[in-house]
Subunit: 313 residues, 6 copies
């Protein structure tokens, strides 16, 4: 396997656009997890990818896998029969200035009990890139240790998305626990909010990216700024890209699509600025698609990149 | 009861967004009346509120009350068994420059036969604020007289929303009949269109507000201007506020949310400009929610007011 | 025109199957009137047909015509601009033993003001069959007189469906007013309930049919008994047919489909028992289709008749 | 208050009829708890009723209350801010012989922490009937003790529904813990399955009912048998009633509707066999309505009882 | 008949807004063909119109006609029993910068076999305007010849819409085959893309319009530029109009609505610039309505034209 | 691979239950092909399975694979870029006595061009069972020859489902072409209608099964009779089983579920009567699930078999 992606995936319930749970009678159901979202995008763009996680062997757990398979993603799931819960989230999307709401309901989920012994370590070892979602470390000490073990087990590159959610843990705890893993991380992904909240640092995006890379000795840092574009650090240089302007259908999948596209390009050997451009293009397309898990096609990312590069519209 | 709100509430049928009745096969069904919309917002923001009206004792009449209860509003309804009709409206929302359509079908509705003797006059007497929707006076002479009796019965403040609809009566009749009530009105709510149509006056919003207050000796006049903000007159001073910029999901609930929030603040003892700001914030949130009856929460109005006041975004 | 069908058509609102208006948020919208239902079935089976009525020139009135045209029915509508209402009904279908509910809201509808002078009398005169729905006589004296004038104007056969609804008028009034028209009626359609309610007669269906024909000197009487079949009187003979057994999707269109098919056959010159069989077959197919206006095809009625006749299944 | 009903209420998610979570994308959302279902039916039939419980102060907790209010039920809710969960269930309905599935997800719910001190004991004391759902005792020792305290606090009659679910606790634990409460129970409700599973007893329904009443000295025992009717014991006599035959839309609300109707009748002073008949009639109507919380009307229960008594159909 | 419109109409399947066929489970179904879209708009605006085409006598063919009739359009259809296919398209709408997709599936459709002998040539001969959709010539040589025969058969004006789709034929073939018809064309409609793709010409819209008119000796050329307005050539003069600004619900019907409105005006004797303005107004309204076949009303086009002319908003 | 399943899979469009295409606006979209349905059931029951076919490389072709992957089926697809079509069907389900309709639109589909050289012959060679859908031979001579080549290539058992559809070819052609393959078929699946239509034979199901086995020297013949059960021939003995009684949600998946379960059991080494029982149980469960591709679980088939065997209900 070229990309091995590790982390919990929840089922996300959401009322129709603009509505609230308080008066909702019908809600949509979608698999939503950074690790599986990222692997799905990378897989759709051409990188051989597999998602590793642990789920309860219930209709809810099987629901997660069915949706990932529908998108063509390969999965290696540890199925739990011990009464562990399926992680759930409840999402109310809102038009600005009203704020989105994300209620976390992820206590005692199956992934909180995952141990290195349950994972296919040979697959992890042989991967080109191992990617992990930082939020998984919030589930339990066991999960946090397994996450560390996964990153340390590979001979490939190690990528981590901060994936911080205040409903799971507070910023200080998150920083402390994740910092212990940073020596095993080559590529860090985060968004602008996380940079200020988790690391409690201020400064321009360029400065933040540079500082984080220096402080923790990362090879790459990619920082997304939604409609303001993205910034990348590598080898002492900071690259910056504006977002591609789009109509917005649903912005919830854009960051993970960015990450998936960047990883796909890094594995393909692209230079940092090219990877950044592909990430920005994938994020733009993701904003035009409903849901967190988006059916992006390689051809349309390439076409958009081409359009941006050539300046034609 | 702190707020007593009096007026007819219709059932509103509407085809899906952008569609027309001509080719619609499924339509939505919502309770829609200024008096109940306003009381619902005030109640959700913390003011003890009750809605008074008369409805037919049929599945349609019960439908109205069920939706108001769902939002937590208390109701005191006179149930009619005399074959009176339920008020109906048929609404086609349209993207500009196409114009919304609202077909009124409110002949012979139960509320047209309401008399003061049917109402809990002690509750009205003891209210801090009695609010009435001017459109109710269009239903019949009986309803118009009862509306006047309700306003005159209280020892609290009297508020009236002009709530003019050309499908119910013409502007001259509306003005004539409502003017007879103005001596019993302390607070007038209206929107900019109504100011020009019903009162046939021109001038800037500031001027209109001031003139109306002077002409009829109102304590307060609140004039809403949808995406252009709102204006308030009190005690010789005119206050003005820009609208808070929003994505627009459905603008049909914004005016009534404004009124509900202003009343909530006036009862709480806020100054005019603070009440105006809360009204503008509630209207902004209402534009991000579908339907005329919106599930606004006190916390998010306060947060938005705070954001506006502090200048942070 | 071969068949001219005269009568009011309402818009019928209904919540989803098994649900009630009290808690419904989405309702379906369908054109529903005996005269247009019957003409649609006859037209779909091959009889050149036109529906005559009066509607308000509003989106609701146009909605009625759009649905009839969709089924291929020709219409001649008098459009009213005088603020007349569109007839409405509110229907809650219910599984037995719970009873269906039909709320009539048909005061002041456009068809109540229709006069013979507004109708194309030459078309009526030349028809092979003129059909009228008795319920139209409940709308107003004007409508009742026009209904009589329509029946008397033709040189073809005159057919009337009793189409009694207790929400429109009481049984005694209905009988009295309709009896005045019976001298101008050659063919009477009714269902078993109407026979007992309106005519206050008891007896077996065979007896009822025979007695009604004798009392009022009808050429034909067709009496439907839903899942118990139908009975026909003509020329001193009573014919009887069991219903064809079906799964039931929606039984609301079965009677009118029966009438449409019988008229189609009588115009084609079929004998009474053959017309009865076609009516029973059309009613059976209508029970398998949702809604009051059903997309029956001539070929499938013929196939079902053939199956019944041959005894094959 | 005449009826005070105590117990947890969950949010129930369910895919469309016949579908599974594994492939579902849209699911319905309904409040479902025996205590609130029963109180809703009693309230709709005319008994003044209030539901007592504890919920998290989140959009999910508020969703529960909104639906109960929509049905006109009064509520007294202890709102928890401590991060307690909202109880959830996941329901797959299935046509026979496929079996329904109900997945319980009720760990750490707010109601598990409820204490007598949080409840309005004066209201409980003064009630005519206090009803409790046995399943609430499965949530925690605290909840079980509070349930006992509620039953012991009233000077009215005490009713308990066994409400056993194998996904919450095993039969032996349930029996042991509930037996400790039986001295404070005057009226027991259960269904046939629970009689055999929880009490591990065999015998005819008449025998089971009689034996349970004798063993635990209940005043009344009501045992429901879905499409086979129900049995009641009181004062040494066993009454039995066949179910009223119905088309089945959704059978999930029938038992609780039975209980609500029986309690309404007992409070009204009905004899046992009359209460039983009303229960059976309410259950029949509930089978024709979708969902666990059904909009039954007093008039239609009375009409159905009348039809059964008179033998007319 | 005043307008006779000739051309194939497909059934268009489309997933919900923003979604893709890859993961869609429900798709909408709409009749979509330039000839029927144009005739529907002209008919709704008041021009007596009929659509001529050939369809398979199947449920899919009948579906096309039912939708056109619903919009009040008259049709003269040659029904094929020879196993010919119904033309299908599969449409994925996308928010920019993602591009819409239109998959053509129109091999062996019934309209490909249509011959002049099957058409009512007397109706064509007597029309004021005969309109044809150029795409029909892509179906087969037979269809292309019949299209030519139709244009040549009338004594009225001949209008052609280029209606080029790269999924049907390539630009060179299209130009070659259509050029053979241009001597029988008085009025040409096209959009800006087609001007460059099919004719391989560059230049400003004004220049393109003028050049095309000169090259092929058209009386009129109308060129639409979606949100950039439209240009018209007649009698040596080029007229230009900006688009009327709108919120965009669905832009797929705008070009055909433009054409229908222009033809309606030309038949009414309007000058070129007035026809252009009506076309631009109809296109604006069409952008606010979902689907390719839009329920525009004459009154609202006139009101919008009036607003534009008077400068009031 | 244990089971290799070969054959075309279409996309099936269907209006909502009871509705017709003529008036439908929303239709469902499902992958439907005997080869993939059978492999999906076998795979869900535990047999390692792969589906082999050819599809166009378009959104429609990818849609087929996405749905199969969602059900966990492995696929080996030859992707065609040559403009081949995706096979389509249009299905109207109908309640009896109205008959279902299935319109075939499968000309020029990608699978019609499939050649043995495109297939992974080593996988086919090594399979325990190779299954093929007879309908694939109707697509073209090429497809028919490839189907033969697939059956002849394996060293495992060869199973064929007759899968006859009169919309694809006539019975005589089907019989002639399929008979040429019968020497390479060990196990034949068919339903009762096909036995009489394709083979033009009469007799009891037992006789038909026996005769077909003798005439063509099949090892096994399995004949399904929907609600009348199924019959199996093997080794000179005919086994018969009644259907398990069910409520019917959708009967369209029952035959293929039967076949999948029988193959799963034969591969597991079950005796004929046991395989037959599992087939009947899977068919029963399939009737309770919507759509042609059903999410059956191994556990529930086993439980139903156990219930049938033990006689408990």
């Amino acid at each position: 396997m070229t990309l091995v992606s590790f982390g919990e995936t929840a089922l996300r319930f959401a009322p129709p656009e603009g509505h609230r749970f308080e008066t909702a009678r019908e809600v949509s159901l979608r698999a939503d997890g950074t690790a599986s979202n990222v692997a799905t995008t990378a897989s759709r763009l051409g990188t051989e990818s597999v998602w590793l996680s642990k789920l309860p062997d219930t209709p809810l757990g099987r629901r997660v896998v069915a949706e990932l398979h529908e998108h063509g993603l390969e999965t290696e799931v540890v199925w739990s029969d011990d009464g562990d819960r399926q992680g759930l989230t409840f999402y109310e999307d809102a038009a600005p200035p009203r704020e989105d709401r994300l209620i976390q309901d992820r206590e005692r989920v199956a992934a909180a009990t995952i141990t290195p012994g349950e994972l296919p370590m040979d697959v992890i070892q042989a991967a080109d890139v191992v990617f992990a979602a930082g939020s998984t470390a919030a589930l339990s000490d066991t999960a946090a240790e397994t996450l560390g073990a996964v990153l340390r087990a590979t001979s490939g590159a190690r990528a981590l998305d901060l994936d911080f959610d205040p409903g799971l843990w507070d910023a200080d705890t998150a920083r402390e626990r994740l910092e212990r893993l940073f020596d095993a991380v080559d590529v860090l992904f985060l968004n602008e909010d996380e940079a200020t909240t988790v690391f409690d640092r201020s400064g321009s995006p360029r400065e933040l990216t540079h500082t984080l890379a220096s402080s923790y000795d990362f090879d790459y840092v990619f920082l997304t700024r939604s409609e303001h574009g993205a910034v990348a650090y590598h080898d002492g240089v900071v690259h910056e890209r504006d977002a591609i302007e789009t109509d917005i259908v649903d912005s919830s999948g854009q960051h993970d699509a960015f990450v998936g596209a960047v990883i796909d390009r890094l594995i393909a050997g692209s230079a940092t600025d090219e990877a950044l451009l592909y990430g920005v293009a994938a994020a733009a397309l993701a904003r035009t698609m409903p849901g967190p898990l988006v059916p992006i096609e390689a051809g349309e990312v390439a076409a958009l990149v081409d359009r941006e590069t050539s300046g034609r519209r």
